[in-house]
């Protein structure tokens, strides 16, 4: 069975463009405010949404997402809030996934977590610190619940290891554009096209590029060689830098509109 995320990539491939995937941590800026950000994403034309599960020790994240996670956790955001945010996204008709470090999944219950994703219309889960060696239990849980397991690969992933990881992926392969943590950057890493090309030699799955994309120009550049463009920190910054929530939501929507033009201009 295909997930809404699988269907999305069939569609964007037929339109000869890339998909825009937007990230927001559940509970940021507030539990209710997050739902409004999701609405702004939808109105701004994003193709898919990643709901982050805020975590106390986010070793893959730079200062922007760390601060957003702290702000969210200080309001007591829990698993139920993550699934509620996921449902807001999927109810609006946009494919959505959860991105989470592994420990919250293990604590919630591996099988139960996969079930709750499916029950809330989610297409899959991105697990940035789950190595394939540790993924046996997760593999059977995602298969049973027919959701996409999305793993992250990096420029340092060896030629030998790359097919082992991509063969475990469903939905898309998450290509980390550079060696580093999340955050906006002046330029998207020049290593990204090379990594995407290496991934394509191992799999037919769509490839989405994340880390460091924040502008229409950058989205356009990435859309030239990837199937998806992932943007996170730039949306969070738009909320953080705004004088109030309403202004923040307005800039989020405008940024989404700009980026969704970018993903259509790449080819």
């Amino acid at each position: 069975m295909s997930t809404p995320l699988d269907d999305l990539f069939v569609k964007v491939r037929s339109e000869n463009r890339a998909a825009l995937i937007a990230y927001i941590p559940a509970g940021f800026p507030t539990i209710e405010g997050c739902k409004k950000v999701i609405q702004a994403f939808v109105e701004g034309g994003v193709d898919a949404i990643e709901i982050g599960f805020p975590y106390s020790d986010p070793v893959m994240d730079g200062p922007t997402i760390q601060a957003a996670a702290d702000q969210s956790l200080s309001q007591g955001t829990n698993a139920a809030d993550v699934f509620a945010a996921l449902k807001v996204a999927t109810d609006s008709g946009v494919p959505a996934v959860v991105m989470t470090y592994w420990n919250p999944i293990e604590k919630y219950g591996v099988e139960k977590f996969a079930q709750s994703i499916a029950a809330n219309g989610g297409s899959g889960v991105i697990t940035p610190d789950l190595t394939i060696e540790e993924s046996t239990g997760w593999k059977s849980a995602v298969e049973k619940n027919e959701i996409n397991p999305i793993y992250v690969v990096a420029p340092s992933t060896s030629a030998q290891r790359l097919p082992q990881v991509t063969s475990r992926c469903g939905g898309f392969v998450y290509a980390a554009s550079l060696m580093g943590v999340t955050g906006t950057r002046a330029a998207v890493s020049s290593g990204a096209p090379d990594l995407v090309a290496r991934i394509r030699e191992t799999t037919e799955l769509p490839v989405a590029v994340g880390l460091g994309v924040s502008t229409r120009e950058q989205a356009k550049g990435v859309a030239g060689y990837a199937d998806g463009v992932i943007v996170g920190s730039a949306f969070i910054k738009a909320m953080q830098d705004a004088p109030n929530e309403a202004e923040g939501l307005k800039s989020v929507k405008e940024l989404a509109q700009q980026l969704s033009l970018g993903v259509r201009e790449g080819r």
Binding site: W102, N103, P104, E133, T136, V152, T157, A176, M179, V181
Partner: protein, 397 residues
């Protein structure tokens, strides 16, 4: 080609690798380097020579007769890791890792530190071997351990205060991991305890197991017997696994780890991970973790910066579950009582971390009586803690 099932680094259900894919290459490179070094006579000789002429090994065994009067009359034997160069067991690990760093052709090391002992040891090894050194230290700890911050700077290291999260050891590790993900090609992460992703728990243990190997022979030579129990404080667990390891195959020897109970495990303000935590994943491995019902790490509390950590090495989690080692929790007050007692009965000022093991010796000695032989890892000296102890005991500075 390796199959998924052959990947080592597990202790029962604990250990493993839970890290961004970006780090896998570096972990594999490190694993290959340390396995090669284990059987390489040149490496073995180089490290042994450094320990003889630089660390000051073998460290001596001191019998603490006056302290023993307060410990039920049990024979108390102190393994003097405090007399090592830089003042703690931490030097054993950093010299080994620094040699590996050079072999891997890397020029820069990063380290996390809580009490500052591992940071000082890392800065020392870097100075000795001409490596660039950056130490991440929780802002809270830079205040508690200001003397060690100055020592690191004198040794040429850059100290970066970490202001995220609880501003202690766990956040310093997060920040070091972020640096490592970014600079992994040129940089070795010199992790300071038996935690983190494979191969760190095994590798760091192997660099510390000399403590148990030496002391087993020293105790046999002195008493003609094996010790009744071996005691050590447990933060991440490196000094404890170092002294335990040679005794694991001696079933008659009790292995006892002393965790930090802070204000008391029942208050929730503690760092007793095995006593008060549950299995989970933190900093790249599965182990006992202080966490809430959503899997968020709970901040730990201890008067001792070096024990103030909400995780513990995975091998300890395993030794606990199979019943080979026991873990008890010692409050701040119990530790400071033992700290003062060792100062006044033996003329030795221990690290506050180590004082937790000494408090355990007082308990176990009184439980077992005069026939018992207790071997205690005196993991570090207390110079760095003079300020904290003076404040605690109301001594004006």
């Amino acid at each position: 080609m390796t199959t998924l099932d052959e990947i080592a680094g597990h202790f029962g259900q604990y250990g493993g690798r839970f890290v961004p894919e970006a780090l896998i290459g570096a972990l594999e490179e490190l694993d290959a380097a340390r396995i090669k070094a284990q059987t390489d006579p040149t490496f073995i000789a180089e490290l042994a020579e450094l320990h003889r002429t630089y660390t000051g090994r073998p460290s001596i065994l001191t019998e603490a007769k006056r302290f023993a009067e307060h410990a039920g009359g049990a024979q108390i034997l102190l393994k003097r890791e405090d007399l090592n160069h830089t003042g703690s067991h931490k030097i054993n690990n950093v010299l080994g890792q620094a040699l590996l760093t050079k072999r891997m052709g890397k020029k820069r090391i990063i380290a996390e530190t809580g009490a500052g002992q591992h940071g000082v040891a890392s800065a020392t090894a870097a100075a000795l071997m001409g490596l660039e050194c950056v130490v991440y230290m929780g802002e809270e700890d830079t205040k508690r351990q200001a003397l060690n911050v100055a020592r690191m700077k004198l040794l040429g290291a850059e100290v970066i205060p970490v202001t995220s999260g609880s501003r202690t050891l766990k956040d310093a590790i997060n920040e070091a991991m972020r640096d490592w993900v970014t600079n992994v090609e040129t940089t070795h992460y010199m992790l300071g305890t038996v935690a983190g992703p494979h191969p760190f728990p095994s590798m760091v243990r192997d660099f510390h197991k000399i403590i148990g190997e030496e002391s087993r022979e020293q105790v046999l030579a002195l008493t003609g017997k094996l010790p009744t129990a071996v005691l050590a404080c447990v933060g991440g667990g490196s000094n404890a696994i170092g002294i335990f390891h040679r005794f694991i195959s001696d079933p008659e020897v009790r292995l006892i780890g002393l965790e930090a109970a802070g204000d008391g495990v029942e208050t929730g303000r503690h760092a007793a991970t095995i006593t008060g935590g549950t299995p989970g994943v933190l900093h790249g491995n599965r182990t006992y973790v202080l966490q809430d019902e959503n899997g968020q790490t709970i901040e730990s509390h201890s008067i001792s910066a070096g024990l103030d950590y909400p995780g513990v090495g995975p091998e300890h989690a395993y030794l606990h579950d199979i019943g080979r080692a026991e873990y008890r929790a010692i409050t701040d007050a119990q530790a400071m009582h033992a700290f003062a007692l060792l100062c006044k009965t033996e003329g030795i000022i221990p690290a506050i971390e180590t004082a937790h093991a000494l408090a355990g010796a007082l308990q176990i000695g009184n439980e077992l009586g005069p026939d018992a032989i207790l071997l205690i890892n005196l993991s570090g000296r207390g110079d760095k803690d003079v300020h904290t102890a003076a404040q605690y005991f109301g001594i004006p500075l």
